[in-house]
Every structure is written in structure tokens, then in C-alpha cells.
Amino acid sequence: MSDHRFALKFEFQELLLVAIGAVPGALLRWQVALHFVDQNILANTLGAGLLGLLAGLPVAPRWQLLFGIGFCGSLTTFSSWTLDSVRLLCVGDIKSAAGLIGLTLGLGLGAAALGLQLGRKIRRLALPRSGL
């Protein structure tokens, strides 16, 4: 019984951390989309870079839940990207659709790789004797 209650409490804490990260992530994505006509490229690139950085750092699981799954997961979006591309394809603008798909992918992968490098560099500087 007490074990069961512990598991529930732990799960509640996990969900709380994800929620705390998800709200600012979604609000930032919404605001960025309102201010820049970039079809989520900016938010997606930023989120991919930040998630890469987190992957490079020695981050405790609870911060991974808050910043990774909550904030970055919510800041970035896959569905708007494909829907925007479909809408461009529907009006026959194949060039713009290909540009949106290629640019988002390229910037996302580049930002994630850069973030990962940076995170590993910070980890080496912070923990010089860890041998990592």
C-alpha cells in the first residue's frame, strides 16, 4: 500500500515537472509565431538546439523532464510544420514547401549538433577530472 502511494506520488511529481516546462514552452512558441512570420522555424531551431545542449550536459532526470520533455518538447512542434508544408503543396507552391521542409530539417539538425557539442564542452570544463 505504501509502495503504491509512493509510486503515485512520484508520478505526480513527474507530471508536475513536465507541466511546469510545457506552459512557458507553448506560450513562447505561440508568441514567436505571432511576431515572426516564420512558420515555427525559429521555435523549432531554438528547441532543437536547447535539447542538444541538455543531452550534452550531465543533467539529472528531473531537469530532463522539466526542460527536455516539458519545455523543449512543447516549444517545438512537428504537426504545424507538416501542415504548413501541406498547405503550400495544396496551392502548388512546391518550391516553398521544399524550402520549408529542407530549411527546418537543416537548421534543426545543425542546432541540435551544435548544442550537443557545446553541452559536452561545458561538461568537460565543469568536470575536468571526470574523464568524460
Binding site: 510545457a22 505561440w30 508568441q31 542538444g52 512542434t77 501541406v86 539538425l109 541540435a112
Partner: protein, 126 residues
């Protein structure tokens, strides 16, 4: 900040369950799938379909901004994720698994595009 406080509240109210369902679904699917990244694939493709559906309704019935903000921007935007998808592709590339990386990338993209188009078509014509 543009947009009213109640609009922000709708986005936030959608975003919380969106992130929760993504986490729970990926964790639930993980033991059934050969690789964890196919869980993210299922999440993203599902979101594409429903976003197409929601967008078609918004186009057809005029600006249902409340619904669009709650479900489209909040829930589905938060449910689907680009950053995890990119990290999973990058992890495959870093492990020199070029073919699995390309398969994941193109499968996600093509299935996502088709799902969004099907959702959009279904919402527009039915």
C-alpha cells in the same frame, strides 16, 4: 506579449495535457516497439492528422479562435515535438547508423505530410 490573457490561458491549458499524453504514450509504446524513436513517430503522425482536421474546421467555420488556440496551438503543438525527432535522427547519425537515420527522417516526414493532408481533406469534405 500579444494576445489576451484568456488566449494565453487557452494555449497553456492545452499544452499541459499535450505534453503529458506525449510522455505517457511514448513510455507506454516503448516496450512494444523495436526502437524508442518510433514512439515519437506515432505521436507526431497522430498530431499531424488531428491538426489537419482542426485546421479544416477553422477554415470552414470561420475563426473558432478559442478552439484553435486550445487544441491546435496548445494541445497538438505541445503533443507533437520537433526537438526530440531531430535528436533521435542525430543520435542515429552519430552512431554511424546512416540508413536507420534516413529511414526515420523520411518515414516521419512523409507519413506526417500524408497524415496532415488526410486530416485536412477529411475535415474539409466530410
Amino acid at each position: 506579449m500579444d494576445g489576451s490573457g484568456s488566449e494565453a490561458l487557452l494555449v497553456a491549458l492545452g499544452a499541459i495535457p499535450g505534453a503529458w499524453v506525449r510522455l505517457l504514450l511514448v513510455n507506454h509504446l516503448q516496450p512494444m516497439l523495436p526502437r524508442k524513436h518510433w514512439g515519437t513517430f506515432v505521436v507526431n503522425v497522430t498530431a499531424c492528422f488531428f491538426l489537419g482536421l482542426v485546421f479544416a474546421q477553422v477554415e470552414r467555420c470561420g475563426p473558432i479562435t478559442g478552439l484553435a488556440l486550445l487544441i491546435g496551438v496548445g494541445f497538438l503543438g505541445s503533443f507533437s515535438t520537433f526537438s526530440t525527432f531531430v535528436m533521435e535522427v542525430l543520435n542515429e547519425l552519430k552512431a554511424s547508423k546512416y540508413l536507420p537515420a534516413l529511414v526515420l527522417m523520411f518515414a516521419s516526414l512523409l507519413t506526417g505530410l500524408v497524415a496532415a493532408a488526410v486530416g485536412y481533406g477529411l475535415g474539409s469534405h466530410v
